[in-house]
Amino acid sequence: MTKSSMTTREKVEKSMKRRRAAEQRFRMYGVASVLFGLLCLVVLFGDILSKGTSAFSQTVIETSITLDADYLGLDKNADDQQVRLANFEGLIKQHFKDMVQPDGRKERRQLYSLVSAGASWQLQNMVLNDRSLLGQTIEVALIADDDVDQWFKHDRGHAHNAMLNETQIGWLEQWAEQGILKTRFNTLFFVNGDSREPELAGIRGAITGTFLTLLVTFLLSFPIGVAAAIYLEEFAPKNKITEFVEININNLAAVPSITFGLLGLAIFINIFGVARSTPLVGGLVLTLMTLPTIIISGRAAIKAVPPSIREAALGLGASRVQVVFHHVLPLALPGMLTGTIIGMAQALGETAPLLMIGMVAFVVDVPAFISDPSTVLPVQIFLWSDSPERAFTERTSGAIIVLLGFLVIMNTAAVMLRRRLERRW
C-alpha cells in the first residue's frame, strides 16, 4: 500500500494519536504551572505563618507585687504628673531582688534585664487608672524582656542561647517550674505603636497610619477618577487631544511607583510645603498612583453599559447629564468600585513612593489626624526586618500576616461587590 492510496479517514486516524498526545501534554503543562504557583504560595504562607504566629503570644512573669506608697512617694491624691515621675522601675527591681537574692552588682544587672522596660509603664498605667491600688499587694503579669520571650518560646531545652547566660537561665527555669513564667495572648502587639523594645512594639500606629493614608487616597482619587472617566467616555469629543490623554493615562498606570514618590517630594513637599511623613502627603502621592487604575477601570465599566439604555433615556427627553447621572453611573458604579478597591489594595502594599516622602520613620505615637507623623504597615514591616533584635523577626512575620489579612479582605470585598451588583446584558 502506498501513501497516496491512504483514505482521508486513515490519515486522520493516523494523526489522531499524535494530536491526542499533544493535547495531553498541553494540559499537563497547564496543571504543572498551576501547581507550581500553588506550591510557591504554600511555601510563602507556610514560612510566614510558621515564623509569625509566635508573635501573637508574649511571655509574662506572674507575680504579686506590693505598690508601696511610701517608696513611690505617692498618696491617694497624687496627680497624674506625680504618678508619671514615680520610680516604678526601682520598685520592680526591689521586688525581684527580694525574690531571687542575687549575688553582687553583676548578677543584679543580669536579673533586672529579664524584665521589660515596659513593666514599669504597666504599673504606672494601673496606678494612673486607679489610685486605690496604692499600698495594696496586687497580682500582675509583668512583661518579660524580649530575650526571655525568645528563650521561653523557642530556645528552652536547646543547648545555646546567645543573649542569656547560665545564671539567668537558671532563674528562668526555676520560674517556669513554679509556673509564674507563662505565655499569654500578645495584646500589646495590637494596641501599641512602634517601639525599639520588641516586646512593646505594636502595629496600631502603622494600621492607623495606613487607614488615614488610604482615606486621603480614596477621598481624592475616587471623585477625580470617576469624574475623569465619565468625561472621557461620555462627553469628550473623539479627537487627537483626547486620544493623547488616553494614551498617557495608560502610560501612567505602568510608571514605576518610586517615580510618584519623587514627584510628591518635588511638588507637594518642596513647592506646596506639605509636612513630611504625614498621611496627608502619603495619600496625595498614592492618589497619583491609583488614579490611572481607577480611570481605566471606570471607563471600562461605563463602556459596558449598553448604548440602548442611553438612547432610550435620550429618546425620552433626558439631557446628557441626566442620562449619565440617572442611568449610566448607577449601572457602572459596581465596576468602578471594584476597580477602586483593587487600586486601593495596590496602594496598601506600596512602600517605594513613601520612601521619598519621609514615611519610612520611627513613629511611636499613634497618629490621630492626617497631619501627624505616621508610617504604614508595609513600611513597618520593612523597618522591623532590618532591626538587629532577634525578636523582631517574628514580629515582622506577624505584621505580614496582618497585612495579608487586610489584602485578602479587600480583594474579597471587590469580588463580592462584583458578584452582588454586577448586571449582565
Binding site: 510645603g273 519621609g358 520611627f362 507623623p373 523577626t393
Partner: protein, 347 residues
C-alpha cells in the same frame, strides 16, 4: 454619598493649605541607618518620660540626612541628623549656603564593623593586609615588583598560606552604605598602606591611592548583599564558607549563629572596640541645628536625655543596644559642649 465625597475632597484641599503653615511641635530627626537603632531608643524613652511628643526618626542614610538637614532653617527641615561619619566640608558649605550656620556636633559612641562567618565553621584570624589582598580590585604583583595587577586570588590560602584553602566569598553592603565606606576606609586602606610603595602614592597621587585602596573587586568574590544585615547573617548560616561584613550589634544579637573573625589578633568584642584596639571601628555622630533650639519644643531636653549617664554612659541603655560608649574624657567633653550648646568651629 457624592456630596459627602465632594465635601471631603474640599476639606482635604483646605487641609493642604492649613498644614503647610502649621507649627511642628515634635522633633524631626533624619539620617544614618547605623545610628537609627540608637537614636530611636532615646526618642522613645524621651517621649515616654516627658510631656513632649515622641520625636520622629527617619532612616535616610548619612548622606541623605545631611542633605535634608542642610536644606535650610524652618520647621519644614529636620532639626537633627544622625551620621555614621563626620560631616564633610562640602556639606558644611551647602549648609552655610542655605543659611544653616550654627551646627552642634555630638559624638555619641563607636560602632565596630565585624568580619564574621558561621559559628559552625572554623574560626578565622586575619590581618588587615589579608582583607585588603582578598577583597581589593587591584593588588601588588606577587613577584615583588611594584606594579598593580587585577586581583588573582581565589582562595584564602592564596592570600596568606596560614589561612584555609576555602574560596574567597564575602557578603557585604553596597556602595551606598556608610558601613561600606567605613570598611573601605578602615579595613581596606589599613591593609593597603602596609605596602610602602602604595603608601608613598598617597602624597604623589591621592586619587589613584584612593582608587587602589578603596576599590573592591567585582569578579564575584565580594557579593553585595543589600543593606539588610539580618539577611547577611542568614546567608552565612546557610553557607559556612562565606564571610559577612556587618555592624557589631548584629554580631552580638546573633552570637549563637555567627562568629566574628579576629582582625590583627583582636576579636570584635565590646571591650576591644571600646578601647580602640579592634581596628575596624568608627565614631557615630549626630548634628543639631542651633537655630531650631527654642523654636521646636524639646530639643534641649532630648539632647540632655541622649547625653545623660543612663543613656550614653558606660552602663547606659544604648550600650545594651550594642553601641560602644565613649571614653570618659571624650564623654565629659561631649556633655560640656551639649550643655553650652557650642557649635562647630567654622573653618
Amino acid at each position: 454619598m457624592k456630596k459627602a465625597l465632594l465635601t471631603g475632597a474640599a476639606l482635604l484641599a483646605s487641609m493642604v493649605g492649613v498644614s503647610a503653615h502649621a507649627e511642628r511641635d515634635y522633633i524631626s530627626i533624619v539620617g544614618s541607618s547605623t545610628v537609627y537603632p540608637f537614636s530611636t531608643v532615646v526618642a522613645e524613652r524621651f517621649g515616654k518620660s516627658t510631656d513632649f511628643r515622641t520625636p520622629k526618626v527617619e532612616s535616610t542614610g548619612s548622606g541623605g540626612g545631611l542633605k535634608l538637614f542642610c536644606n535650610g532653617v524652618g520647621d519644614a527641615t529636620p532639626d537633627i541628623t544622625n551620621a555614621s561619619r563626620a560631616i564633610k566640608q562640602s556639606e558644611i558649605d551647602l549648609c552655610a549656603k542655605n543659611g544653616v550656620t550654627d551646627i552642634i556636633e555630638v559624638t555619641i559612641g563607636f560602632d565596630g564593623i565585624s568580619f564574621a562567618n558561621s559559628a559552625a565553621a572554623k574560626h578565622m584570624d586575619v590581618t588587615l593586609r589579608d582583607l585588603y589582598l582578598a577583597l581589593a580590585k587591584m593588588v601588588p604583583a606577587q613577584d615583588g615588583s611594584e606594579t598593580l595587577i587585577a586581583n588573582p586570588y581565589k582562595t584564602w590560602k592564596d592570600v596568606n598560606p596560614v589561612l584555609p584553602a576555602t574560596k574567597i566569598e564575602v557578603l557585604g553592603p553596597p556602595p551606598t552604605s556608610g558601613t561600606r565606606d567605613a570598611f573601605a576606609e578602615l579595613a581596606m586602606e589599613g591593609g593597603c598602606k602596609t605596602f610602602p610603595f602604595i603608601k608613598a602614592m598617597k602624597s604623589a597621587d591621592k586619587n589613584k591611592y584612593k582608587a587602589v585602596c578603596h576599590g573592591i573587586r567585582e569578579d564575584g568574590a565580594y557579593v553585595e548583599a543589600g543593606e539588610n544585615d539580618n539577611l547577611i547573617v542568614q546567608k552565612l548560616v546557610a553557607n559556612p564558607d562565606a564571610f559577612g561584613i556587618f555592624g557589631f550589634s548584629f554580631l552580638e544579637q546573633n552570637s549563637d549563629k555567627v562568629q566574628g573573625a579576629a582582625v590583627n589578633g583582636k576579636l570584635p568584642t565590646f571591650d576591644n572596640i571600646a578601647d580602640g584596639s579592634y581596628p575596624i571601628s568608627r565614631s557615630l555622630y549626630f548634628y543639631v541645628k542651633k537655630a531650631h533650639i527654642g523654636v521646636i519644643p524639646g530639643i534641649e531636653e532630648y539632647l540632655a536625655e541622649f547625653t545623660s549617664e543612663r543613656a550614653m554612659g558606660e552602663d547606659g541603655y544604648l550600650a545594651d543596644k550594642g553601641m560602644i560608649p565613649l571614653t570618659e574624657d571624650a564623654y565629659a567633653d561631649v556633655v560640656k559642649r551639649v550643655k553650652n550648646l557650642t557649635p562647630m568651629a567654622v573653618k
